[in-house]
């Protein structure tokens, strides 16, 4: 190993090209050349869990799993592990609602041997019955044990997403349900694969320290995928949320997880998205103490570990500190995430969060808060894409949203230099809607909570530690803060009933 490899020229200005360097359709190739010794591949297929046939939800997920851990015609999965092991390299197909991204990274010393397997996996997948059965069981176990029981926060989000997008192609878990997984056969997987993993239905992205000859090599190999149609992207239209409706997932738990939101009619390609993102950052920048909800619920009152808001789909928020890439939707959602609070503070925490959201919606952002958040984002956005792999992810998302050069993140930063308070407040008025939301609780004593919610019972709060008068005065308003929740809009489900 040569030492000089890493004497970091990684960070030379990124050369970002979708140019005519080679003869293939430039619209389907994204390149990001750096001087790092690693090469990154991402192949975006226009297929996601939205394409799962009815009754076979989870098919896209299982198909991807068969690429991840199903081996090729030539090599079993364990033979692949053996071959890739010394390279510390692997590959993975990740399914989201709109897309599946097949990606991998390798040190350039090992490129050729790696590439052969990486591409062979797509061209000649193994599709063995024993792997299929194992991976199907794993998917079922993920639903019945991991999702239902190991993190109430992720469970709350999953229930919220299913509820908001019900009766649309987004209205199920990517992993499907227990019964739909059981109904999927290996033949279903093969057919799904041939239909969607075709040579017209992908975008190729390559980043890092590659030679230009590599582009043709990869492209020409991918041309050998079966012929097929481009899978069009159709805008999903979930029903509008009317009023406040509540889903209480009853479960024995010593704390309550809360998620709430509604579908939002704005995409990052819309000029109003950036001012709205500023407002949202003030209200609830993910995993950041600058979040106002965090300040009110955690900082001043110590009720939980954090409180955040979003204007885009943000899966696996509990496991990441910066926004995810390659999970775009045609219809995103506004979401508030209240991390677990003591059971006796759940009604109070909901009121506190909705009260703040309502105040922002009605009063708009204050000039000081606007200025602080504007300055914050101008630099903070730099941290969203610290490495080549993530930058490639953003570039692919730009293609999905039709955002041209210099790309979303640069536009985001630039806009923070010129955005006005009026733009922010007008976006707030247009897109923030605290009166129409779906609220999900993961909690014990569901019936008691339902009664308290629909009757607008006071929700007194007792602190174990002293609080300043300003907090106690504000609490008086929160404790009796009125929420219009009708009994017919409250649904109670048992955790065992979910995702069956």
């Amino acid at each position: 190993m040569k030492k000089s490899f890493l004497l970091l020229s990684f960070f030379v200005p990124v050369i970002f090209m979708t140019t005519n360097l080679f003869p293939v359709d430039k619209d389907r190739i994204v390149l990001l050349k750096t001087e790092e010794p690693v090469i990154h591949f991402k192949i975006w297929f226009n297929v996601g869990s939205k394409d799962d046939p009815k009754g076979k939800e989870g098919l896209a997920y299982l198909t991807a799993a068969m690429l991840n851990e199903g081996g090729t015609k030539n090599l079993t999965y364990s033979e692949i592990i053996d071959k890739l092991y010394p390279f510390a390299a692997g590959y993975r197909a990740s399914v989201s609602k709109e897309n599946t991204v097949y990606s991998g990274s390798v040190h350039k010393d090992n490129l050729n041997e790696y590439l052969e397997i990486f591409l062979d996996q797509l061209l000649n997948p193994g599709f063995r019955e024993e792997d299929f059965n194992r991976l199907k069981q794993e998917a079922i176990s993920f639903i019945t044990t991991t999702l239902r029981y190991s993190s109430d926060e992720e469970l709350g989000k999953a229930v919220l997403y299913n509820e908001l997008y019900k009766n649309t192609p987004y209205g199920h878990l990517d992993a499907g349900s227990v019964s739909s997984l059981n109904s999927i056969t290996l033949d279903d997987v093969k057919e799904f694969f041939i239909t969607y993993y075709n040579r017209n239905n992908f975008i190729l992205a390559i980043g890092g320290g590659y030679d230009d000859a590599l582009i043709d090599k990869v492209w020409n190999t991918l041309e050998k995928l079966p012929d097929g149609k481009i899978n069009p992207t159709k805008t999903v239209e979930p029903a509008a949320v009317s009023g406040l409706s509540v889903v209480i997932v009853e479960k024995k738990a010593n704390a309550t997880a809360i998620s709430m939101g509604y579908p939002i009619s704005i995409l990052r390609s819309d000029p109003e998205w950036y001012p709205l993102a500023l407002a949202n950052s003030w209200l609830g920048e993910h995993r950041n103490s600058s979040s106002h909800l965090y300040q009110v619920i955690r900082e001043a009152r110590g009720l939980n570990y954090g409180d955040y808001s979003y204007i885009e789909y943000y899966p696996n928020g509990g496991w990441r500190s910066k926004p995810p890439v390659n999970v775009p939707l045609t219809k995103h959602l506004f979401e508030i995430w209240i991390r677990p609070v003591p059971n006796n503070a759940k009604h109070f925490a909901l009121r506190a969060a909705l009260r703040e959201f309502t105040k922002l919606s009605v009063e708009g952002l204050k000039p000081d808060d606007f200025e602080i958040t504007r300055k914050f984002l101008e630099k903070y956005v730099l941290h969203y894409a610290p490495d080549t792999d993530t930058r490639l992810g953003y570039a692919l998302d730009d293609k999905f949203f039709g955002i041209s050069a210099p790309g979303h993140l640069k536009k985001f930063r630039d806009k923070m230099g010129s955005v006005t308070l009026d733009e922010v407040n007008s976006a707030i008025k247009k897109y923030f809607n605290p009166e129409n939301m779906v609220i999900v609780f993961i909690t014990p004593d569901a019936e008691k909570l339902k009664n308290a919610l629909v009757n607008n019972d006071a929700s007194p709060i007792e602190y174990q530690t002293p609080k300043p008068n300003s907090v106690l005065e504000e609490d008086k308003e929160i404790i009796n803060y009125k929420l219009k929740i009708k009994p017919e809009n409250v649904k109670i489900v048992q955790v065992e009933e979910l995702f069956n």
Partner: protein
């Protein structure tokens, strides 16, 4: 923030193992400069030009291991939260980082607490002023302290729905009698509940451990090392030494195997954890160095056992081995999640049979060489941003006080032979040092 312990273990073992294979004469591929102040404070500077970003990591060589007094478990982590509560000069720490769009956070583990910021290069002096100030002049009010304890309890509640958190808590409690590794980083629930009453103790904690001799600063990214060195002298020289070492009792030699079954209040597939008492991190300890690659070779994803239990028989969801990288002795751990309760005994017998096998048989030398290569590439591929470089160093620093150990560590690992591994397996995997916890759902 408390790092998920399971993740920490995995991440740390990857890092350490990865570091292991760099050739003698230059494991770490960056130029390193050091600043040593008279008060014992040390800074490690690694300029990486071009990104416009700087990563700033302060490593406090104190973690939950240092919570030696009864009733104080979880305090290192709690104190990490308090470090964000401001000083007279900067009463609102967070508002300063917000203004400059810095990404600021912290984490605590058994052996260390790390405060980290990523920010635009032009803000380096402002950050140094802010950071040095809170390490010297932290000043929070009692009611702020009490409120923050609620957030820590919230963090405990968030974590405890994860069966692995429950498992770690019960395992460490059982496997240790005297040493502070008896508790996990988040601490015992009773101690967390009592945190609001520990204001005075928190001041003691700060005075004992937040001292220049116990902290190391790492700066990576786009900065000029010469002017930064002067800046460090300016901002950190006034910090008074006075570190008081914790009175940690050594763990007595375990004399009989220990077993326990734990019920998890929720549904989960059973999780089996087996731990054999091992040694502290020590690159000069030949048995210890030889047991490190054994974790992957015997239980990793290309091991015979993984192939058998995960892929062929499909009895378990996963299996993994984890060799300890800690300041004091900790067990060598094996984790597996069994799909059917009726297979638990069988899976345990297969794990034990694997260990017994390698007491007499030699590891395949081709696999050992493959692993060494994997370590090298794993290490190199991870260093893909200034932050990634900075974040890969705290563990080495807390274990040894510097990063020079990376070279020694690599050299020692590269020289491990199949015979060394066989000796180490015989040395560590003895019945009297065995601990087993089985967690079952309800």
């Amino acid at each position: 923030m408390l790092i998920n312990k399971f993740l920490v273990k995995i991440i740390f073992s990857v890092l350490i193992l990865s570091a292991a294979t760099v050739q003698a004469g230059g494991v770490f591929p960056f130029k390193v400069q050091r600043v040593n102040l008279k008060n014992g404070f040390k800074a490690i500077l690694i300029p990486i030009k071009g990104s416009g970003l700087v990563s700033y990591y302060t490593v406090v060589r104190t973690g939950s291991r240092d919570e030696w007094e009864p009733g104080k478990s979880g305090f290192a982590h709690f104190f990490e939260h308090m470090m964000f509560r401001g000083t007279d000069k900067y009463p609102l720490f967070d508002s300063v980082t917000t203004t400059i769009g810095a990404d600021a956070n912290a984490y605590t583990s058994d052996d260390l607490t790390v405060y980290h910021l990523n920010f635009a290069a032009e803000d380096l002096e402002k950050v140094m002023d802010l950071e040095s100030d809170r390490f010297m002049n932290l000043n929070y009010k009692k009611d702020e302290f009490m409120t923050e304890s609620g957030a820590v309890y919230g963090e405990y509640r968030k974590g405890i729905t994860n069966p692995f958190e429950v498992l770690f808590e019960k395992f460490q409690d059982m496997a240790f009698d005297k040493h502070t590794y008896k508790h996990t980083t988040i601490g015992f629930e009773a101690d967390i509940k009592d945190m609001p009453n520990q204001y005075d103790y928190s001041l003691t904690f700060y005075k004992r451990y937040y001292r220049p001799e116990n902290c190391v600063l790492v700066i990576t990214g786009d900065f000029d090392p010469e002017s930064t060195a002067k800046m460090i002298e300016k901002y950190y020289s006034a910090w008074k030494p006075g570190y008081v070492a914790p009175k940690i009792e050594p763990e007595p030699v375990q004399t009989a195997p220990r077993e326990r079954t734990v019920e998890y209040d929720g549904k989960t597939l059973p999780i089996v954890t087996i731990g054999y008492k091992c040694d502290a991190f020590d690159v000069k300890n030949k048995e210890y160095m030889a047991i490190l690659p054994f974790a992957d070779l015997a239980f990793g994803e290309n091991s015979d056992l993984y192939r058998k239990l995960v892929l062929e028989e499909q009895k378990v969801q996963f299996i993994a081995g984890d060799a300890p990288m800690k300041r004091d002795p900790f067990p060598f751990m094996i984790y597996t999640r069994v799909k059917s309760e009726s297979d638990i005994d069988y899976v345990i017998s297969e794990i034990e049979a694997t260990i017994e096998k390698y007491k007499t048989e030699l590891i395949d030398p081709v696999k050992l060489e493959g692993l060494k290569k994997r370590m090298k590439y794993g290490f190199l591929m991870r260093l893909d941003s200034p932050e990634a470089v900075a974040s890969s160093l705290p563990m080495y620093i807390t274990l040894t006080g510097d990063i020079t150990v990376i070279d020694e560590y690599f050299d020692a690992l590269m020289s491990v032979t199949p015979e060394d591994i066989r000796n180490a397996v015989n040395h560590y995997f003895v019945k009297t040092g065995r601990n087993q916890v089985i967690l079952k759902g309800n």
